[in-house]
Subunit: 336 residues, 2 copies
């Protein structure tokens, strides 16, 4: 039995898939960092943790998963929250509990000291035996993690669900090089974008969490005139995003009592500034029709209800990159 | 570390959820048996198998999972296919590999000799240590499995994700007592049921697999006249279902060249016979409008494409019981 060590491709892909799915839950929210997931197994291949990088400045996926695993193995020890302190604390107090452990990471562990210490070093300090990686890190600053691990005598295996790992990285690669444009659309099950509230609170909270990290929210004049929205991030209690209003009508002619104009310290643009790297477009059918060809990805929320409203009727074939559920809503991240 | 044995509620629910999800993949296809899923962990809590009962007459979920686990532990041994032979073979040749193993089962293991030998006895013969169960079996013939296990000194813990386990059993409890009526609907992402082919081949194959086990497929005159369908189970190479045509028009007046009338040995009814226990309704907006209130569950396939067709506009709030993906399609099993 000792030589049945995750030899099956099926089991390797099963664990990597857990890591990938966990990472997708935080897709976009890690901006400007990439979404990354990590699964930790002990030396007997028992699952200890399934975690992701959740937000820039917080622990990387590897550290987050290791901290979670440590908490489950040593519930009596309380851990520091801040990433650097957490890293240091675990290195000092691990008591060998991770000896010969195994990790599945969706992206090659970093080897550089960024805001947080290098994850490759953490695996080596804790005595991990093997690291499975989906995608190699092509980022010059952070790469080299696998080389480092191998030098420390840790086995490294690349390319587990590589195509899936590449999909996960796409937004990061795009906003790193230039602009990444996401279009958000909310539909009922029968394809209607109408009705006061289409998505449920979980879906809207995820959308607000994205609003809290983007550089710019892009909306059309029609949405503003019809919905009189506030376009803030209140559901996650975060700062409202700056706006870009794309309208044929002069923005000076809009009713300044519309709530979005009353958000303090909000900058409002009428052209997209080139320094904005991550933009979210929000709108309905017309806005989608105008901008669909310049959009990188589509985030589509869909409820479980039929109503008696007209549907969107723009022929478009979406290719799903990831889909999941938020309560009774479904959501998907798509490309054309 | 030895007392950290799946004590965390989170991990118990994680494994039970794997079992539940696997079972839902075969929901309806196990008719007249219940859908059941089973996860096997070894004594160190490594996942060995995630399997379900797939079809009446084939191995129960427990035996199927154990066989799969045995194959991964002893790949050199080839196993018999037939369920009774498989059960017997594993009991004779297990070599103690399941000593102190753990199982998660969505339904209390059966204690009776049906078409296949009792699963409770299998767990005890193989030396399992603990069985986690979602839902107690209220079926008088098969129940008593947990009592038997406890008498053999095996730990039993009930009610892991009990509400989810109950949802999984609903179709079984309905068709066991009387009639279970499922309505199948296929929509584009913008809620249109129109277009020659709405769902992809994976979705249509699942629908054909259901057609292959139901007692009766119920359709309306409108579908027959408009689509001239064959309504068979060709995508899974199975026998076409008997039909019930509900139409105001006399069936004798239908064009007998429509392919569905040419299926050999097919019985065609114009009223629902009371002995039919599992019925699937297939149709569009009007058929849904007429029958929605007498339907037990809705199976809704939805593509990832928008088109320029009109949508369904019957206000209905569906409560999802389960949802998953088949290629680029989404599907859900809903109640009203």
């Amino acid at each position: 039995m000792s030589n049945f060590k995750i030899q099956g491709r099926q089991m390797k892909e099963f664990y990597m898939n857990l890591a990938l799915n966990e990472a997708w839950k935080y897709q976009f929210l890690t901006y400007p960092n990439p979404a990354v997931g990590c699964v930790i197994l002990d030396k007997n291949e028992k699952i200890l943790a399934i975690k992701a990088h959740e937000k820039a400045g917080l622990a990387h996926a590897e550290l987050n998963a290791i901290a979670h695993a440590f908490k489950s193995l040593r519930p009596e020890i309380s851990l520091p929250k801040e990433a650097n302190a957490l890293h240091e604390f675990i290195c000092k107090n691990h008591q060998g509990v991770f000896k010969d452990s195994i990790a599945f990471v969706t992206l090659e562990p970093c080897s550089h000291q960024g805001k947080t210490p290098p994850c490759a070093k953490l695996f080596s300090e804790l005595g991990f035996k093997k690291i499975f990686i989906s995608v190699k890190d092509e980022n010059k600053i952070a790469s080299g993690g696998a080389e480092f691990l191998k030098k420390q005598g840790i086995e490294v295996e690349f390319d587990i669900l590589k195509e899936e790992g590449k999909k996960l990285l796409k937004p990061f690669l795009k906003w790193q090089k230039g602009q990444f444009k996401l279009f958000k659309l909310a539909l009922s099950m029968n394809g209607s974008p109408f009705g006061k509230i289409v998505s449920n609170e979980l879906s809207r909270t995820y959308a607000h969490e994205i609003r809290a990290v983007i550089d710019l929210l892009v909306v059309g004049g029609e949405t503003i005139r019809k919905d009189c929205p506030i376009l803030d991030a209140r559901l996650c209690k975060a700062k409202a995003p700056n706006l870009c209003i794309l309208s044929r009508q002069n923005i000076d002619n809009f009713d300044k009592n519309i709530p979005l104009f009353k958000v303090p310290n909000r900058q409002i643009y009428t052209q997209i500034p080139s320094e904005a790297k991550f933009l979210m477009y929000e709108g309905g059918e017309n806005f989608l029709k105008i901008f669909k060809d310049e959009i990188d990805m589509f985030l589509i929320f869909q409820s479980s209800s039929l109503n008696d409203e007209k549907n969107v009727t723009i022929p478009l074939n979406f290719k799903p990159l990831y889909r999941n559920f938020l309560g009774s809503d479904t959501y998907g991240i798509y490309e054309l």
